[in-house]
């Protein structure tokens, strides 16, 4: 395994942010650009890791892909694991980090409000999920904690409708539902076949 200098990466990332700042007029545009940059990384990371770590096996279940992202991807990219948390909504999943690696040396000026350079990491996650067939909206948020000076960062994953519907179809009983799913997708999503 080759180790890269953290400082080198920090300077490179800083330059990426600065370059994008010159190209845009407002903050949400900057956030979108960082996310797009991350998306490209995520798509490539998925291909690489599927081949390298998982022996070309494809994830089809939601929990499977989530655990893949939160353990394998995080371990390879950042060298550690992240804390997973569920939420109230069925289609939303969160992971919490004390501090994202990309944000380690960055202090956001007060006038930039809620902007988070973790949008890059959110883009990586979105790229991985999209490539694996789980379209989602991924965002990074600062969550202030009591008693701590620096806020924690949360990555929020909100899956698209079709993912939830597919997941419901795949359901709990594997075989019958698998057959149902094969038949259902061939015809139309709305009809359920009783076996």
């Amino acid at each position: 395994m080759v180790l890269v200098s953290l400082s080198a990466f920090a300077f490179l990332f800083s330059e990426l942010v600065q370059y994008n700042q010159t190209q845009v007029d407002n903050i949400s545009e900057l956030e979108r650009r960082l996310e797009d940059a991350g998306y490209a990384v995520g798509a490539r990371v998925l291909e690489l890791l599927c081949h390298r770590e998982k022996g070309n096996r494809k994830e089809t279940r939601l929990l499977g892909i989530l655990s893949f992202v939160h353990s394998t991807v995080w371990k390879v990219l950042f060298g550690k694991l992240t804390l997973e948390k569920g939420t109230e909504h069925e289609d939303e999943y969160m992971s919490s980090e004390k501090e994202l690696l990309v944000n380690r040396f960055i202090s956001i000026p007060k006038d930039m409000g809620t902007f988070n350079c973790g949008a890059f990491v959110a883009g990586i996650v979105r790229g991985v999920l999209d490539g694996a067939g789980f379209p989602a909206v991924v965002t990074a948020h600062f969550v202030p904690m009591d008693g701590q000076q620096r806020p924690r960062t949360t990555i929020l994953i909100k899956f698209a409708e079709e993912v939830l519907r597919r997941e419901a179809r795949l359901g709990c009983d594997y075989f019958t539902d698998l057959v149902k799913a094969i038949i259902a997708t061939a015809v139309d999503v709305k009809y359920k076949f009783l076996l």
Binding site: S7, A10, F11, F13, S14, E15, L16, V17, Q18, Q21, F105, I106, S107, I108, P109, M112, C117, Q149, R150
Partner: protein
């Protein structure tokens, strides 16, 4: 001391440092490192690029050079790697301030401990 005063002191020091480097009788002099006065001491650290860090302290305070190298390291980490910092502007980086106060607190504890 507010921002304007700091800027005034800094520009004064910058010119004095440059003049002293020219006037120095020793060969290969890189400028003033220590200024001792009645009521204060001024320690100065110059990086390879010519950026100067100086600290004003009570007369006779020890280990200021070590503190200056620590501050230089904090500068390279939290200021130069921050994409929102513009060069030559006053430093307004939260992480730099937090770590700077921490470093000085640690130093103060170490000094009082002896």
């Amino acid at each position: 001391m507010d921002t304007n005063d700091s800027l005034r002191v800094a520009s004064l020091w910058h010119s004095m440092h440059a003049i002293s480097q020219q006037l120095s009788p020793t060969v290969g002099c890189s400028g003033i490192e220590l200024l001792e006065a009645d009521t204060f001491d001024l320690h100065c650290f110059q990086s390879l690029t010519g950026t100067k860090f100086f600290v004003v302290c009570e007369p006779g305070t020890q280990h200021m050079e070590v503190l200056l190298t620590v501050i230089y390291e904090l500068y390279t980490d939290y200021v130069l790697k921050n994409p929102f910092y513009e060069m030559e502007m006053p430093i307004r980086c939260e992480l730099f301030d937090i770590n700077l106060t921490q470093a000085i607190q640690k130093d103060r504890v170490a000094l009082l401990g002896r």
